[in-house]
Symmetry: C2
Subunit: 167 residues, 2 copies
Amino acid sequence: MTEDARDEVDRLVAAWRAERPDLDVEPLQVLSRVSRLAKHLDRARRAAFAEHDLEPWEFDVLTALRRAGRPYELSPGTLLRATLVTSGTMTNRIDRLAQAGLVRRRPDPEDRRGVLVSLTETGLARVDAAFSDLLRREHNLLSGLGPDDQRLLAALLRTLLAPFDAS
Amino acid sequence: MTEDARDEVDRLVAAWRAERPDLDVEPLQVLSRVSRLAKHLDRARRAAFAEHDLEPWEFDVLTALRRAGRPYELSPGTLLRATLVTSGTMTNRIDRLAQAGLVRRRPDPEDRRGVLVSLTETGLARVDAAFSDLLRREHNLLSGLGPDDQRLLAALLRTLLAPFDAS
DNA sequence: GTGTACTGTCTTGACATCGAGATATCTCTC
DNA sequence: GAGAGATATCTCGATGTCAAGACAGTACAC
């Protein structure tokens, strides 16, 4: 390990080794970095969305609808599974997005328990603008890695995710 | 790309390509996986800590103190920088940890604005137990990758984190 | 058809976080 | 040594989330 490539996690691992030499703290080298990187990504995303007057949670819901393709319409249940939040949270989110004029709610004609949520014109335009902006920023974040390294990294991460996606 | 190695993110990327063929969505292959993996890790950690009657936020604070070494004492300011939360949050956390008997607060003898927070015996025992349990679980999560792949993954992540740690 | 279990959505109350600002103290410059 | 700015911590109000449960409607076995 070269001395000039130390980051916060290297320091954290060194501290643990000094305090708990009995434990194998190697897993932190990978998993702490994943958590920390995710935290930084959240902040970067927040900044990107702010320029489009969107909160991250708004973006989450809008992109799920956008990705679904025309007519950009999904049920709350589908949305909460796509975004990994609870039903109470999703109800609240849809309420506020509807209030903001970004989505619309209508009764499901095929299931009277159900509701269908769809993007408005405004919502569609807003999410498209925010998404391409986000991609531009993410492209920059990855500029430290060449295309081959990016593919390699993606493949390694996919291996780690496999057990979770299975469930 | 082999057909049998698709995960949620591959599906997500495929959906975007269909809807927005004009955009380069490759960055998602890496960064979406980082975010998703972090979310799953949070859940796994929560489960691990529950067996030791600790919340993730409690663990965060206690490990920072534990890592500092004897006498396991740091200022709130140092703690909030280590855990990436705001000062209001840290005050609240310390209040509750003190109430639970896991940490102790005392005035800093060298700076009358300051406070020093230290682990109690109970806090030390609790965090040590939870930490070795966590490492055992994280070791399992990484069992899909050989030692070389783990080192490779750690190195690639370090490269991505570098710009953030610099700031 | 009737009853039972399941599903989809919403309501409610508790809670951890954040952001902005208040207060007290320290530090540095002149 | 006085004043300006920086630093350390805490307070307060707003907010987004979750967990548990309520309620309406559906599906399936018999």
